[in-house]
Amino acid sequence: MRRALWAAALLGVGAPAAAGQTSTFTPEGASCEEVGLIAGTAGVRNAADAIQRQANTYSASAFAARHLDRERVGAEDGLLVVMDLNTTYNATRMPVFHRDAVDDGMSEVGDCVAKNRVAMRGLDMQAGNFGLTYNKGPVGLIFATSLTAGFPAYGDQFTRVNMNSFVAPAYVVGIAATAPLLDLLIPGDLDLGAIKLDYLLGARVDAKLVQASAAWLGSKGGYAQLSEPTFGGYAFVAKSIGEAAVWQAGVDRLDPGGLGAADLGEALGLTSLAYQQLPYSLAAPGGAALPVIGRLRVTGAQQQNIARVADLAVRYRIEPEASLSELAMGLHTPGYHKPRVRDDDEDDVPVGLLARGGFVSTPAVWSQGLAAARLPSGRVELNGEADDFLVRLAFLYNDPEQLQLYPFARGALSYQLTLRGDL
């Protein structure tokens, strides 16, 4: 019952397309409402996989490490509040059948005719994070939440965009922000199949040369993070009971300018390196996960703010198959990327724009229904900053980070919105 209520809260809002109205945005068959997944197909397995990996990618711990802990190294006393919202259209496509396409084997309902009984539907995904951290002197508190969800796309495009752009985000962020309270009121499993919720509560210590934080995860596990301000080195691990650990380590925006080599810093910009390790399992036909059979290990390097206006990015997949997964370059307004330690007034422009393009290569994985492919990728990002408030909106096509982890997300379009207030 509880699962049904959650699903109703998130998915039951917004009426499906009006019956019988076919147009560019309302394809024939869009009034089919009773969607059944066809078990045993690659698309349905991929959907289960995408939902699980999205929960890892946008977990409360990954969010805390990226947006809260590392942003606070060497910061003054105060409160930082961050909200992040990610929407992905067509994370995968899956064969479905529509029970209402045939009514008792005799009549047909609206435009949900028998020929539309089996169709391909996209999987749309939402991920919301909310977090805050407060530090006074060398100690601080940290709180972060995550809610990730995936559901079959609405047939009617107008309803679909309305849901994904306005209605679902409000629910996702609202539920994510109140996660601990909900867990307190309705104690139990935070993994509700297509909807996964988590949160963390912890403390941090900033000892100048090294900064550390540790937190308890609502999904009954732990999170630990270490970072250092000089080179931007960091590492974190998150592990819940009964699940394999998720690791990340790297260097975040190494700035030669901050190390006393101003001219070199101006020419080279900022260097970031990342390594990520996730458990790899295959989803079983019923949606349950099979035992972990390996690891997903990926790595990447970025050189940002080259001559203040250009970026280069390379990603490499180590396991399960070694291959180059992204090569891209971008151009942006001068000083778009901020150094970790902000002491450069020249970089404080109120509005920034970034455009990045390249290619992503994905391997042949026939268990997921995928031939090897090389795909174009693109990212356009807008950044607005006023006083201590930041807004960032990004549109991504064939997001390399996503494709590196789930190669079936081909042709996917994503929106990302980040709001940050440094109070």
Binding site: F25, P27, G29, A30, G36, I38, A39, G40, T41, A42, R45, Y89, N90, R93, P95, F97, R99, V102, D104, G105, A114, N116, R117, V118, A119, M120, R121, G122, D124, P152, A153, Y154, G155, Q157, F158, R160, V161, N162, S165, F166, L282, A284, P285, L290, I293, G294, P320, E321, A364, V365, W366, S367, Q368, G369, F395, G411, L413
Partner: protein, 135 residues
């Protein structure tokens, strides 16, 4: 002055950006392709060997071809969706049955693709052996 409110323009922009529809017709050969994907999947799940899974899919493609117009009214004796009447979704019973195989059975079948395609009455309706198509 525009007749439409701001949210209308935002939605139209969003629709343009989304591009591909969330709902598309399915190809007639999809149940057959899914059978091949299922062979790759169950091989990889049981052995942990992705390359072997890929190899068995390629063997399937080399030895078998898809029936271009499988029957629309389903598979005799199969009602996988538990609906009032059988339908084209029942053709996916071939992929489903393969993906449900026990690993001991998969070990026994090994690389004999034809064995996998005998586990459901839906399989011969969606795929057929190529002339001279191996085992």
């Amino acid at each position: 002055m525009s007749r439409h409110p701001l949210h209308h323009h935002l939605l139209v922009l969003g629709l343009g950006l989304v591009g591909c529809a969330g709902f598309q017709p399915v190809a007639d050969t999809q149940p057959c392709l899914e059978a091949g994907y299922a062979i790759a999947y169950i091989t990889e799940a049981c052995t942990g060997d992705r390359e072997l899974g890929n190899q068995r899919y390629e063997d399937f493609r080399d030895q078998y071809q898809c029936v271009s117009t499988p029957p629309e009214d389903g598979v005799p004796g199969v009602n996988s969706a538990d609906t009032a009447a059988p339908g084209p979704e029942d053709l996916y019973d071939c992929a489903y049955a393969i993906s449900q195989l026990d690993c001991a059975v998969v070990e026994d079948f090994g690389g004999r693709i034809g064995q996998y395609l005998q586990v459901s009455p839906a399989c011969p309706l969606v795929t057929e052996r190529k002339a001279g198509g191996g085992r």
